[in-house]
Structures are given as C-alpha cells and as structure tokens.
C-alpha cells in the first residue's frame, strides 16, 4: 500500500535524527554528516518515486494508525493533491541533501544541524499526508520547531537569535489561527477527520471566518504580505541547504495547507474570497520584489524574492477561486494549473539559487554583495548554474519560469467573463501588478548575478574564491537541468497535474500530449499556443549559424586590452557599480513613495580631511505601521498588567471570588 510504504519512509527519516546524535560521537571525520545526508537523499528519492507513481495512478490510499488522540487515531492519505506536493517536498529534500553532502562538511557545529534536518523533512512529508486535523497540526508544529532549531543553529550571531524569536512568534500565531480554523470546521460535533469535515457543510458565516483564519495561518507560513516579517529574517539565518528547504519547500507546504482547507474542505467558495486572495497576492508580489531590490545581503534578496513568488502563486490561486465560485470549471483548471506549476518551478529555481548563495558564502565567507565581484572567473561552473537560476526566476523563455507566468496571464485573459464588479476592477489591477513584479524581478536578478559574479573583485575574499566540491555542483546541475526540461517540455508537466486540478476545480486543461510539435495550448488549438522546445531549438540554431558564418566569413581574432571606459584611466575595482548604486534609479522611482527612501550626504566641515559619507535611509512601511504598534501595545499591556504581580493576598482572594461569581452568573443567565 502506497501510504504505508510512504509512512515507513517517513519513519526512517525521523529515525535519522537520533542516529545523527549517536554518530556525532564517532571519531571519523564527517561520518555523521555523510551518513545523515546520504540516507536522507536515498529516502527522499524513494518517497519522491512513490509519490510520482501515485500521481500517475490517480488513486487515493488511506491508512489509520492507532496514535494520537484515542477517539480519533492518526489518519493519513495520499490522494492526487498530496502526491503532487509530496513530489515537490521530496524533490527539494533530495536536492538539498545532495547539496549538503558537500556543503555540510564546512559546517562549524554539525551537531546543532544534523539531528533536526531529517526530522524537518519527515515533518513536512507528514503535513502533506495528514488526513485529520490533529495529525496535520502536530506535524505542522514539528515542522516549525525543527526549522526554528535550524534557524538558531549559528547562535553566536545576535541577529540569528532575534530571527529565531520573531520566527517562533509568527509560527505560533499561525498555528493558533489554524487551530481555530480547524475547530470551526470540525464544528460542535468535534469530528476532526478530513472526511467528516468534507461531508459537513458549514454555514456561510462560519465558512467565511474559517477562510480568513486559514488564509492568515497558511499565509503567514508562506510569507504573504503583511504577515511576512519573519521570512527575510529567518531564511538567511539558517544554513544554506536549510534556507533552500524553507524557501523552496516549506512555503509550498503552506500553500498545500491553503489548497487543502479552502479548495477541498470548504466546498464552494464565496465570490469575495477571491478578491481578498488576489489583493494579498498582488501586493506581496510587488512589495516582495521592491524590498529585494533594496537589500545588500544575497540571501535576504532571495528570501524577499520568495515573498514575491508566493504572491504570484496566491494571485493565480485567487483567480482559480473566482472561477470556481462562478462555476467556470475549465478556467479554474487553467488558473489552478498555472499556480501549481509555479509552485513546482519556484521550488526548483529557489533551491538552485540558495545553493549558489551557499557556495558563495563558503567560498568567500560573506553574503554581502558589495564585497563580491568577478567570481565568474574564479567559480565558472557555479556562475553558469546560478545564471540559469536567475534567468528562470526572471521568467525568461525558454526556461520554466516563463511557462507558469504565461499560463497565469492566459488565465487573467479569461476573466472578463466573471460577473462581479469587484473582480472586474481587481483582476486588471492584479494583472498590472504581476507584470510590474515580473519586470522588477528581472532587474533584481540582473543585479544579484551581475554584482556578485561579473565585473571585478571588490575584496580580497572575492579574489581568493574557489569552486565548491563536486557533490554540491552535481546537485546544482541536476536542478538546473530540471528547470530547463520543465521549460522545454511543459506539456508533460501540465498533463501530470490534471488529476490534481480535476479533484480541486472540477475540470482540467485540454490534453497536451497529442498537440503537434509538443506545444502547449491552454484553451483550444488555434487559440493561443506556446512551444518552448521549438523556441529553444531556434535560439540555438540561429546563434550557431550566426557564429559559424561570422567566424568563417568575417574575422575570429581577439585581442585583450584594458577596458575602454571612455578613455578615463581606471582607478580600480571601487569605481564600478555597487549593489546600492545599481538599485538607485529604481529606488528613486518606486522607493521614495513606498519606503520613504532618502539619500543623505554627510559632508565634513571645511578643512577637515574626513571623508564625505553617503547614507541611504529606508523605512519598512509594514513593520512601522503594523508590527511596531502591536509590539508597543503588547508592551504597554504587559506593563499595566504587571501590577497584578504585586497585589496583597486579600486582593487575590477577591479576584478569585469575583471570577467565580461571574461564571455562576453566566451559567444562570445563558439560555
């Protein structure tokens, strides 16, 4: 039975945790690291294969274990939706384990990372397989706790501890809202299994409240604005393979939670739900990428970019909700396929980018882009795969990012059929926001790749960088090859998503397997189509023909010399553009309004030989308008309530007496 095999695999992963502790005392160098990551790789690949077979099989299998609550047990199920997300989770886990086989050797304190890593993978798998609210929430909490432990692995840095604190706070808040949501869904009967919840039809008010709670809970874990504040703090703090898992995989588990609750358990959605999801998605997309453009830390850029992509995914899911609430099943299928394809794509290229950032961190010792530069000469292979990742995330054909973006735009073009006025105004606005975020993402990744890898080295650390080891490179090449394949042969992936989409949206996209020349057609043949393979072949042929013709018929000689630079004598690597200066035009156009960005020049008094300094001042609008007032309010309340600590015994007794009397009154009056 598929579920049972999967559960055995997950148990194996969980057992690797204590095994890593035991192996930690082994004197052989890197023994614990090799064994843990190696076995995680094997088990993840096995789980991925099981999930793939289950996806093609389109059968759902369940099992109930006598664990957990005595009257409930622990239900686990693998249906189409679960199998797709299991593929995503385990593919990400396998890639991260392969990368960590090489990267983990540089870890200073492996005993703080190794025990938690396999348990983290196991918890994520369990969340996806859970079939009742209790196992879902327990696995969700395990996922949060183990990732928290991994975030504070490098505890000497104060900012990592702060990141862990904020992360724990937001994760607890998310779990609280999910707990309330499941409580509302289970109703007064208290049957927490998903089958029972699916059969019950809650009242409209209860469904609306559950939807808002579920969106808050899963959205905060996924990184939707305005609940994203923990993400750019926590993701960079963890070791790079864990960051890849958190950004690439854990956020997708949160998307799974949203899909499961809103699309599966809640039944038919109301029309205004989609407006909320669309608005949050569009806002996250634009704000995420604008934040990313202001950062100097490479991993923080990637973390904010995750927020942007989650915004794109939620915008597509919002469209699917809108179509589903109007009963347009085929359009909902198109939007849902676009969202799920982007889930898969983002897991791939975000992991690739984090692997690259981890290799850079190991090679140069710094994540600050302003200290890097010229690394394309010292680390050519890393540069190549990082370039593939940057091009994929900027939605450039013929890679995979473009296909999911194209499908999202095709879904937007079907939306004039929606009758609601709110949607008629919201969808073009969200379309414009998505287009804006795509263009800004390209700018962001030109900056990330160009400043880190191109140009000249800005510090001695960058001059002495070396390629990472073969295993890390192999992981990056494998993921890059998958990105290219998904971009060139998207029809195959779209067809694999059909059972998932059929279950959630009630319709599916047209069968892509039979289309001529392997194009994809989202609506019908002859309507709109895209062929990634042909574009790729044309690009290679034209480039090759041009290169061959020119080298044969014209000239192929090369001379080297100093850079021209309009004839100015070159003062050195400090004259080239920095990350801040590259972002200056965009900061000036968008940042003055959004971030109150100011450039302040501090000039020394005349006669002083101190240098002038240019400072860029940015304000985080969401932190200042949402989080700081709440934190201040909590502080204030805590201070006021502190008086309760210092009352006399008589006051305490009177408090107890008053509380008792009030409760009795309530019992007396309650009808």
């Amino acid at each position: 039975m598929t579920v049972v095999t999967a559960l055995i695999g997950v148990a194996g992963l969980a057992a690797l945790g204590p095994l890593a502790v035991v192996l930690g005392v082994c004197p052989a160098k890197h023994a614990a690291s090799n064994v843990t990551y190696g076995l995680s790789l094997i088990v993840s690949l096995m789980l991925c294969t099981i999930a793939l077979l289950s996806l093609f099989d389109a059968q759902s299998t369940t099992v109930t274990l006598p664990l957990g609550l005595p009257w409930l047990g622990a239900h686990f199920r693998i249906d189409a939706l679960a199998s797709f997300f299991l593929v995503v989770v385990n593919l990400g886990g396998a890639a991260a384990s392969l990368f960590a086989l090489g990267y983990g050797r540089h870890e200073h304190a492996p005993q703080r990372v190794l025990p938690f890593y396999p348990v983290y993978l196991a918890a994520m798998n369990l969340v996806v397989m859970a079939d009742d609210a209790f196992s879902f929430l327990v696995s969700w909490e395990f996922m949060s706790l183990t990732s928290w432990a991994l975030v504070i692995a490098n505890h000497q840095l104060h900012e990592n501890m702060r990141a862990g604190f904020v992360y724990l706070l937001m994760a607890s808040f998310g779990t609280l809202t999910l707990l309330l949501a499941f409580g509302l869904l289970a109703g007064p009967g208290g049957n927490y299994s998903f089958d029972a919840i699916r059969a019950a039809h809650p009242a409209a008010g209860v469904a609306a409240l559950t939807f808002v709670l579920a969106l808050t809970g899963t959205g905060s874990k996924a990184g939707l604005v305005p609940l994203h504040a923990w993400l750019p703090l926590a993701h960079p703090a963890a070791p790079s393979h864990v960051s890849a898992l958190m950004s690439g995989v854990m956020t997708k588990v949160a998307v799974y939670g949203f899909l499961r609750i809103v699309f599966d358990l809640l039944g038919t959605p109301d029309w205004w739900w989609s407006i909320l999801v669309l608005a949050l998605g569009g806002m996250s997309a634009v704000m995420g990428v604008l934040y990313a453009l202001m950062q100097r830390d490479l991993k923080r850029v990637l973390a904010y970019s995750t927020i942007e992509n989650i915004g794109i995914i939620f915008a597509a899911l919002g469209l699917a909700l809108a179509f589903k609430s109007e009963g347009l099943a085929w359009a909902a299928a198109l939007a849902l396929t676009a969202g799920l394809f982007h889930v898969f794509n983002h897991a791939l290229f975000k992991s690739l980018l984090f692997f690259g950032a981890g290799s850079l961190l190991n090679a140069t010792g710094t994540r600050d882009m302003e200290q890097l530069g010229g690394l394309i000469h010292r680390m050519p292979q890393t540069a190549l795969v990082f370039l593939v990742g940057c091009a994929a995330i900027s939605a450039l054909p013929p890679l995979n990012g473009f296909v999911s973006e194209w499908l999202t735009f095709q879904a937007i073009l079907q939306s004039p059929q929606l009758p609601s006025w709110g949607l008629k105004l919201m969808v073009p606005a969200v379309g414009a926001l998505l287009a804006l975020s795509a263009a800004l993402a390209a700018a962001c990744f030109v900056r990330a790749f160009g400043i880190s890898f191109l140009g000249r080295a800005r510090s001695p650390a960058a001059e002495n960088a070396r390629e990472p080891d073969a295993l890390s490179l192999a992981a990056m090449y494998a993921v890059a090859a998958l990105c290219l394949t998904a971009g060139i042969l998207p029809g195959f992936f779209i067809d694999s998503l059909a059972p998932v989409v059929q279950a959630l949206a009630g319709g599916r996209m047209p069968v892509q397997a039979g289309v001529e020349w392997l194009s994809i057609v989202p609506i019908a043949e002859g309507h709109s189509s895209y062929n990634g393979l042909l574009l790729f072949i044309f690009l290679i042929i034209s480039g090759g023909v041009a290169s061959f013709a020119i080298h044969r018929l014209a000239s192929n000689k090369i001379r080297r010399g100093p850079a021209w630079g309009c004839g100015y004598p070159d003062a050195g690597p400090t004259t080239q553009y920095t990350a801040d200066s590259f972002a200056q035009p965009i900061r000036r156009v968008f940042g003055t309004v959004l971030f109150r960005a100011r450039e302040i020049g501090e000039m020394p008094p005349p006669g002083s030989t101190a240098p002038a300094r240019l400072k860029v001042e940015l304000h985080d609008p969401i932190w200042e308008t949402l989080y700081e007032p709440i934190a201040a309010g909590v502080s204030l309340a805590a201070e006021r309530l502190n008086y309760l600590q210092f009352l006399t015994i008589r006051s305490y007794l009177s408090l107890v007496f008053v509380a008792l009397v009030l409760l009795l009154l309530v019992l007396a009056i309650w009808p």
Partner: protein, 318 residues
C-alpha cells in the same frame, strides 16, 4: 509539398527582416538629416558600417568573461527570432503559433537581460550606468507592453499575432476607445524600448545621457556589429508590430497566390517608410528628456494601457 512551401515563406520572412533592418535605420537617419537641412549619410551606410565592423578584430577588456563573448550572439538570435514571428507581409506563417505576442515580448526581455549583464561585465562605471537605467526603464515599459497585449487580446480574442492581425483587418473591429489608448501607449513603449529620443539618444556618447550606448561601450568588432544589427532588428520589429496591429491593411492571408504576396510585400515596405518618416519627424520635433522624467513618461503609458484594459473588462463595447 505544402510544408516545403510554408518553410520557404517562413525563411523568406526571416531573410526579409534581416535585410530590411539596416535599411530602415539608414532611412530614418537620412530623413532626420534632411529635416535638419543636412545631406545626411547615404541610405546604405548602415550596411557598410556592419561589414566594416565584422571584419575588424575584437578588443576585449582584460576581465571580460566568456559571457561577454557569447551575449552578442544570444541577443542577435533572440531578436532575429522575435522579428521573424511578427507578421510582416503574410500572416499565418509556419512557426507563428510557437510563440504568441507575450512570448515575443519575453524573448525580447531575455535579450535585454543579457545586454544588462554585458554592461556589468567589464567592471567599469559606464556599464553600470547603462544597465541600471535600462532596468529602470524596462521595469515600467514591460508592464505597459503587457497591458497593451491584454487590451488587444481581449478585443481580438487571442494572443496569437496572426489571429490578432486577421481580426484587426476584419470589419468587426470598429473604432474603439481602448484601441486608441493602446496605440498611444504602444508608441510610447516602442520609443522607450528602441532607445529613441525622448528616452535615450541613439547618437550620443556623453555619459550623462547614455542608456543603451553605455551598456555596449566595451563592445568592438563583430560583437558590436551583431549588437547594432540587433538594435536595428528591434526597431523593425516594433514598427512591424504597430503596422500589423493598427494598420493591417495589405497583409496577405495564409495563401500562396503571388499577387497577394507581392501586394503584402509592397504594403509592408510602404508602412515601413511611413513609420520611418513619422519617427524621424517625432525625433526632430522634441528634445530628449532628463533621465528621471522618463519614469513619468512611461508611467503615463502604463496608466493609459491599464485604463484600456480596465475599459475592456468593464464593457464589451469600449
């Protein structure tokens, strides 16, 4: 047999755009010069420039990487393919269904991504100026272009260029407000994307005014020839795009009758000439904008295109 004929037509289009691109650039320069009461360079001068550059050695900066050498070929391939997919004298070419208008724009976006990287590769300040300004302009021009695509797709019912051209040529299209808004926005975006006055000056080499020229400052020899040819192809692409979407009269339908094809080619040449003259007049009549007024200009295009899309969403008759 029919397949071979279709491949021949597609090949003809590819050759036609390649050969006409430098001629269009030369024509615009000639008209501009004549408007300024100068003789101007000969019409075929761009061809001579390209041949001269192709024969020269390439001088590479010391720290230029393999990416720097590969990028001109990639940009040329991408722009050539994009230009071959826009209907010029005949719609419904063999491979026109492999990429719709959104894909054409994205392919041009890849070319721009590569060019911005090339600007950063040499490690000088000028490349950085060009790349940072280029991505700022792109961050507004690309969304405006996508909104224009949405407007047109909502009117024509498909994002496929041949379908759009056929619809615009049919009597059902009527005179619509959103088309007017889209045309104005498309002209603004075309000017920005092709680095024309008032957004950028294609003839300047002053560092404070360069955008496109700053990114290609370090290129020489055959690399520079390819990049200039790509810029000419991009201008041809945008003029052809405006012509096939807003002035589609004369485009031959998918058939093989020689009279229709010759008519299509003649109409296309006439449209190119008209576009070139209008562009030259426009460039001569106004001055280049300060760099930080360009976002306002492009923002206006984005707003117009957004308004056009909004109107199409709100009612079918707009």
């Amino acid at each position: 047999m029919a397949v071979i004929r279709e491949i021949a037509f597609q090949g003809m289009q590819m050759l036609l755009v390649l050969l006409l691109a430098p001629l269009l650039t030369g024509f615009v320069r000639k008209v501009k010069a004549r408007l300024l009461r100068r003789q101007g360079p000969p019409l075929l001068q761009p061809y001579r420039d390209l041949i001269r550059l192709l024969r020269k050695d390439v001088v590479l900066a010391d720290n230029a990487s393999w990416l720097f050498r590969v990028i001109p070929y990639f940009i040329f391939a991408a722009t050539w393919i994009a230009a071959s997919l826009v209907p010029t004298f005949r719609s419904g070419l063999l491979f026109s269904w492999s990429a719709d208008l959104i894909a054409v724009i994205a392919v041009l976006g890849s070319a721009r991504f590569a060019l911005a990287l090339a600007g950063l590769d040499a490690g000088t300040a000028f490349g950085g100026i060009g790349s940072s300004r280029e991505v700022m302009i792109a961050s507004l021009a690309e969304p405006a272009m996508l909104m224009i695509v949405f407007t047109l797709a909502l009117i024509a019912g498909s994002t496929q260029l041949s379908t759009m051209a056929a619809f615009m040529n049919s009597p059902e299209v009527g005179l619509r407000v959103s088309l007017g808004l889209g045309l104005i926005a498309l002209i603004i975006v075309a000017i920005a994307e092709n680095a024309r006055i008032p957004v950028d000056n294609p003839a300047t080499h002053l560092e404070l005014t360069m955008v496109h020229e700053a990114m290609v400052l370090e290129y020489s020899g055959r690399h520079l020839a390819l990049i200039e040819l790509s810029a000419a192809l991009k201008l041809l692409l945008y003029v052809s795009l405006i012509a096939c979407l807003f002035a589609p009269w004369g485009i031959s339908p998918p058939s093989a009758e020689p009279i229709l094809l010759i008519g299509g080619v003649a109409a296309y040449l006439a449209k190119l000439a008209a576009g070139g003259i209008l562009l030259a007049i426009f460039e001569t009549a106004i001055a280049k904008m300060r760099v930080f007024r360009v976002p306002g200009f492009l923002g206006a295009a984005l707003m117009l295109a957004l308004l056009a899309t909004l109107l199409r969403f709100v009612s079918r008759s707009f």
